[in-house]
Amino acid sequence: MRTFLPSLRPALGLLSLLIGLPALRAQNRDSVDTEIQALRAQIEQLDAKLRVLERKNEIRDEAAAAAAPATPRITINDRGFALASADGANSIKLRGLVQLDSRLFFGDGGGIANNSFVLRRARLVSEGTFARNYSFQLVSEFGGSAVSIQDANFGINVAPALQLKFGKFKSPVGLELLQSDSWTFFNERSIVTNLVPNRDLGVQASGDLLNGRLSYALGVFGGVPDGGSTTNADFDNEKDVAGRLIAAPFKNEAGAFLQGLSFGVSGSLGREKSTAGRTGGYKTDGQQTFFSYAATTVADGQNWRVSPQLDFRNGSFGLLGEYVASTVNVRPSATGAKVELRNTGWQFAAGYVLTGEASSYAGVVPAANFDPAAGTWGAFEVVGRCSTVNVDDATFPVFASALTNANVARAAGVGLNWYLSKAVAFKIDYYQTRFGFNFAAPAVSATQILRQDEKTFITRFQLAF
């Protein structure tokens, strides 16, 4: 038996293996099935979690999409800072204008403290719309010697053909005066601007007709003297009516040579009745006074102005011209005899953008900003201008002193404008003004700046956004 058993061992082992193998196989199969089930359950759980995550993302996207129409839009660029409602119906825009000038006069005999740095303008502009059709503008001036409100007005945009404006704003007479301070060809507007009313209190209707080929403005204003602005209160009981009619017949003819031509006429008509002095003084391109009425002179009676004007732009070339005749009735004093005086002036100014950008009434936008690293230089524009103002000979000597005033100013100027970007510009102008005098004037004017031509460089660093 002992010898038999060992010989059976392998057979028994094999037998037991054969018997146990299916059981082992079944055990293994169960284990695999369990594992598969566990994996399946895990996959289902992961699938459920994935669906939940996807749905949460969808809900987030839906919420964002629903919120989007109500999300206000914020715009910050070189045109200012703007906040607008999602539908654009309500907006507030903040803009600014800073002009630092250097005035350098030479050949004026010395002794005149007129070479100076001037903070010509430092303005904060807030403007916007409410309920799409209501607009406002508020312009605060911090430059010069006093803080003031330049513009404060609101408008109702009834239709493109009818827009109403109320408050303080520019009277619609002077072509160059109506152009933004930032975008005139020269640092200073021409001397002819002395003859048109500046900012006034009033009500104005304006609009575009014939698909923009005709535009008009017509308003009733308190009335201001030549070149003057309101002091935010009406001066007398009388009113002025001022208006402007401009045609741009080729405006919608793309590519036409005269597409950028606009021309028209503006004017004002009113009465003045005051017992105190109320007449304007005129300044040179260098902003020195070459003519002013005697302090005792008062405006009394009808005044009117007429100004034919044109603006032409073609590519890089721009031309602006205007003529102004300003008539005023004055008395030497509250009780003196009334006399009608007519002062006239004209100007032509032209510019050419050397770097190829378009010349525009709304300013030059450089194709590429000044960026030394990128090798770009902004835009350069050369400008030239000639202008004249004639003061009525009948003014002297009763209404203004021939001793201290010129009665003619003939000015010419050239300049170079460097637009570093839409917002930043550096401009340098040279002006020369020659004066003429009434026959009653002395050989040598009592006013030192009038004894020779005014020659001045005005350079300006400008930030306008």
Binding site: E58, E62, A66
Partner: protein, 331 residues
């Protein structure tokens, strides 16, 4: 004679102008699941109004979570009528926006709720998780879909139905709070409105059970087939009363007061009630209700006024900031 003719012609022009048909536009700002109801109803009302006055009326619809819609109206959405999921949301039009009078709910019959609904449980075909009643929703491993009570009126009805059940069964507010906390732990995603929650359950295939407006559950079965979903009617639910109002401040400004009022009045007509029933809302009109009785199962229903002390109280206790929902969900 000539003058007479000219005068007559002018008169004809003037009166003809006055008599010419107007085109009126209304905006109905409603909650999520009423899209289909008001598509049908608006067409019927336009036909009715045209026949009555000769005027064309176009009713634009806006749908989202009821609470969110109330906020939108208060924020300036020019709704002529608001047809929201619950009175509390329209109350907000008075308390916050002063757009409707305080007693707005008394202006129309049945507390300005022209149709009702209730809350049921929508499960997948075969009810794989064996959902039979509210208790099954708090079991571990059961995924529940219900929208956010902060933004959805339907979600607030869902919540209160579950709360009412737990309070009745377990007998104390603490236990009800614990029940609700367990239920919302089983909610993986809170949609902002009832329609979104239906989408989550039906289209995204998330969840084992959706707590749903009865009408929304019927609609899901109608749209997707009885072979995909089935409705489980719980032992206890709540009488949901969606309410309607003219938004006085808007209609006075727009000059649409008469047509807006007529629009809501029309909900109470036989035609309006029929349309509500066809869209699975329980009609108030007893005759119409009897006609559709087989459609709507009978069950014990709590009421917001009788069991919760009214919407103002329920809102303050459960859904206001730091209310019970905030306490259990933000924990």
């Amino acid at each position: 004679m000539k003058l007479k003719l000219i005068f007559s012609a002018l008169l004809a022009l003037v009166t003809g102008g006055a008599a010419s048909a107007k085109t009126i536009s209304l905006l109905n700002v409603s909650y999520d699941p009423t899209r289909e109801l008001y598509v049908d109803f608006n067409a019927a009302f336009a036909k009715y109004w045209k026949a009555k006055t000769g005027d064309d009326v176009t009713v634009k619809q806006s749908h989202a979570g009821s609470g969110a819609q109330a906020r939108a109206i208060n924020d300036g959405l020019q709704a002529d009528v608001a047809t929201l999921a619950l009175a509390a949301d329209i109350d907000a039009l008075y308390t916050i926006g002063k757009l409707v009078p305080q007693d707005w709910q008394k202006r129309l019959p049945d507390n300005s709720a022209p149709y009702t609904s209730t809350i049921v449980l929508l499960v997948r075909k075969g009810n794989p998780k064996g959902i039979k009643d509210w208790d099954d929703l708090v079991k571990p491993g059961v995924t529940v879909v219900t929208p956010n009570p902060k933004t959805s009126g339907g979600a607030r009805w869902n919540y209160l139905a579950a709360w009412g059940y737990a309070l009745k069964k377990y007998g104390s507010e603490d236990k009800a709070k614990d029940f609700i906390a367990k239920l919302y732990k089983n909610v993986p995603v809170l949609d902002s409105g009832a329609r979104g929650a239906t989408t989550t359950f039906v289209q995204r295939e998330i969840g084992d059970v959706a707590i749903s407006w009865e009408n929304e559950a019927f609609l899901a079965i109608k749209e997707y087939g009885a072979d995909k979903f089935e409705i489980v009617v719980p032992s206890l639910s709540i009488l949901a009363e969606p309410t309607v109002t003219v938004v006085d401040k808007v209609v006075k400004k727009k000059g649409t007061e008469a047509v807006a009022k007529a629009y809501l009045d029309y909900l109470y007509t036989d035609e309006g009630q029929e349309i509500a029933a066809r869209n699975f809302y329980r009609p108030r009109n007893e005759t119409i209700a009897a006609k559709y009785a087989k459609l709507f199962p009978k069950l014990e229903l709590l009421t917001i006024d009788g069991d919760f002390g009214g919407w103002a109280k329920a809102q303050k206790i459960h859904f206001a900031d730091d209310g019970v929902f905030d306490q259990i969900y933000l924990k």
